[in-house]
């Protein structure tokens, strides 16, 4: 199929003759905003918890819903950041810097309004960049063979190890543990059953969805239980949300600049929205006419990070869809959803399932529009949700996790996988691990093993096959630079303060 014609985008439109697409998308955005705005419920967790309910639903419908969740949750995080200075999701950390001071001035409505419009503009721009650039990246990636995929997987795992919280060494160990869990099940080459421990359910491998719900959902709830409680109070009415045209006009350069930053940073595997938002906020300090006012509660300081973090959503989907390497934990979980639907992300998806891919672009666009509408007209109701007591929230979320795991195969076996992962995730988090590398390792594991062994079999077991192909060699060198570059750089400069351990 020709990858550079307008037809490819039109093919996805046919799915939208089904009104359920709009319903699922809107419903997804609504739930996403609600969960995203509740402090302690991250966007990743929201997607992980709900993904199992999309099992058995048509892939286009389920992705209309999931992308709605994704967009809604990333946006919803900013509501909590503005109102109570607790970012609902990590993506909203920078939003609180000016959002909360503005809220303290009694202008919470204005802050949320600017956040909504900036998010929407950033989101729309990112959909267009994704729709234009992704098929191009995919057509290049079509030429990759097993050796190159080994390199790309290593890059993905290295970056997530570097970016995630905790030390890089722990990030790498986490990624490796994920790969080890991925070994369980039938060997892809010889069909020999490995590490089944007498459980026939494991023959297909450990199902990644309950592991993800356990690592993000159950372990997060256990974390909150093991820590002190904080009640929150909001004592102001959220009003005057719809921003004035003159404000938007004045902020347009900031929003455009930050959106571009967001798209680019989002597309770097594993960099993600929180970094995009912080970089955009930093750039705003350089470009602003009144940098000294940033942090005191001005709308410029909300527009920049909000445009960037929503613009990163499209960017983050790019490496996941085109290469099968997720851009951040959220897209890693979304990739789990694709695999659950029997779809394998990567360049072949563009070649074989282009109508589905273009429905993804359109669903993402639709969810941004829903986000704008719900945000501008519903924010005052979402604001009230933040005060829901954790005592009610934690047990309810746990039931969602339990039921979600059960619903995948209607078996309690997956509940046990959930609980084991949740408990392991809790202890690993407590000793400084992040769940992201484990999830990524688990999802990439089977693909990594097949590619690694296929490449080696073709080369008669010679490891040199990975360095004799130029693109594969380039990826390996890039991995080494990523892992050891900062360390060696500091060694040369004589600065020992940053350590990789």
């Amino acid at each position: 199929m020709e990858l550079f014609s307008m037809d490819i985008y039109l093919e996805g439109l046919k799915y939208f003759s089904n009104p359920m697409m709009f319903l699922f998308s809107g419903f997804g955005v609504l739930i996403g905003i609600i969960f995203g705005s509740l402090p302690g419920l991250t966007a990743t967790m929201t997607i992980a918890v709900f993904i199992s309910f999309t099992f058995g639903i048509d892939a286009t419908l389920s992705f209309a819903f999931l992308l709605g969740l994704y967009t809604g949750a990333v946006y919803g995080g900013s509501v909590a950041a503005i109102l109570i200075n607790i970012p609902g999701t990590p993506n909203a950390i920078a939003t609180g810097l000016d959002g909360y001071p503005l809220c303290q001035k009694g202008k919470a409505g204005q802050a949320i309004g600017i956040a909504t419009v900036s998010s929407a503009i950033g989101g729309i721009l990112s959909v267009f960049v994704l729709a234009i650039a992704a098929p191009m990246v995919a057509s290049v990636a079509l030429k990759f063979s097993a050796q190159e995929y080994v390199g790309i997987t290593l890059i993905g795992l290295s970056i997530i190890a570097i970016i995630s919280t905790g030390s890089m060494l722990k990030g790498l160990i986490g990624g490796l543990l994920g790969l080890v869990i991925g070994v369980i099940g039938m060997d892809p080459i010889t069909n020999f059953p490995r590490f089944l421990f007498g459980q026939p359910e494991l023959i297909e491998g450990v199902s990644s969805i309950p592991v993800m719900i356990g690592l993000y959902g159950i372990s997060e709830m256990l974390m909150q239980i093991s820590e002190e409680e904080h009640g929150v109070v909001i004592d102001q009415a959220v009003k005057d949300i719809i921003p004035s045209f003159s404000d938007i006009k004045r902020l347009l350069p900031t929003i455009t600049r930050s959106s571009i930053i967001g798209v680019i940073i989002g597309a770097i595997p594993a960099a993600g929205g929180s970094i995009a938002a912080l970089v955009a906020y930093g750039q705003e300090k350089r470009f602003s006419k009144h940098p000294e006012l940033l942090g005191t509660g001005i709308i410029d300081g909300i527009a920049a990070p909000e445009a960037a973090n929503n613009a990163s959503t499209g960017g983050a989907l790019m490496p996941m869809l085109t290469l099968g390497i997720p851009g951040d934990p959220m897209t890693a979980v979304l990739m789990g959803g694709l695999i659950m639907q029997g779809l394998r992300p990567g360049p072949l998806l563009f070649k074989q399932q282009m109508p589905f891919v273009s429905s993804i672009f359109l669903s993402l666009l639709l969810s941004v529009i829903f986000m704008l509408v719900f945000g501008l007209f519903g924010a005052k109701y979402f604001a009230r949700l933040i005060t829901v007591k954790k005592q009610y929230l934690i047990p309810s979320i746990m039931i969602f996790c339990l039921v979600g795991s059960y619903a995948i195969n209607n078996s309690t076996f997956d509940i046990w996988i959930l609980l084991i992962s949740g408990l392991i995730g809790f202890f690993l988090r407590k000793v400084g691990f992040s769940p992201a590398p484990i999830v990524l390792g688990l999802i990439l594991g089977p693909i990594f093993e097949s590619n690694l062994r296929r490449a080696l079999i073709l080369a008669d077991g010679q490891w040199s096959t990975f360095v004799t192909r130029p693109i594969s060699l380039f990826f390996l060198i890039l991995t080494l630079i990523l892992l050891f570059g900062p360390f060696i750089w500091n060694l040369i400069k004589g600065d020992k303060s940053t350590d990789i351990i």
Binding site: V180, F192, E228, S396, I501
Partner: protein
């Protein structure tokens, strides 16, 4: 962190050892490249894991000179108690689900959890029971009626 790092590093090293030797018992095709064996890839992972585990232990010893203080897993004994109650509830939930059905299991889980999460002074049995019931009904309607997940009916037939 360092104390836990040493314990964790040692556990990971032992795990890597078990993984390596157990994978060695998988069938081997003589005279063919080793990559064809089912144990090849897990053994490779075990070696890398062992190297990283040793690095974690060494790093923990180096850090001994740098920083003092360790993280506490639980803030105090009451949070440990709460954690244990939660754990027990999570573990018995699948059994409750199988034997009592979804609605009853969920009500028991929600009400005990909400009761345990509130401090002694805030516990108002009537209010918490009522809210638990409302939450259970909402969850039941969403999952059983709307999403239509086929739960085991259990002894009480709901």
């Amino acid at each position: 962190m360092k104390k836990y790092d040493k314990i964790l590093g040692t556990l990971l090293l032992i795990f890597a050892g078990i993984l390596y030797f157990y994978s060695g018992t998988f069938p081997v095709r003589e005279g063919r490249p080793r990559v064809l064996n089912a144990g090849f890839y897990p053994q490779l992972l075990a070696i890398i894991l062992a190297v990283l585990a040793v690095a974690l232990i060494i790093a923990a010893f180096i850090k001994d000179y740098k920083d003092k203080g360790d993280v506490e897993i639980w803030k105090n004994t009451s949070s440990l108690k709460l954690f244990l109650v939660t754990l027990v509830m999570l573990i018995i939930y699948p059994y409750l689900l199988t034997y009592l059905g979804f609605a009853t299991a969920t009500f028991i889980f929600i009400s005990i959890m909400i009761y345990s999460l509130f401090s002694k002074e805030e516990r108002n049995i009537k209010k918490l029971g009522f809210i638990s019931l409302i939450i259970t009904i909402v969850i039941y309607l969403v999952f059983n009626e709307f999403i239509n997940i086929p739960f085991p009916t259990g002894g009480l037939l709901i």
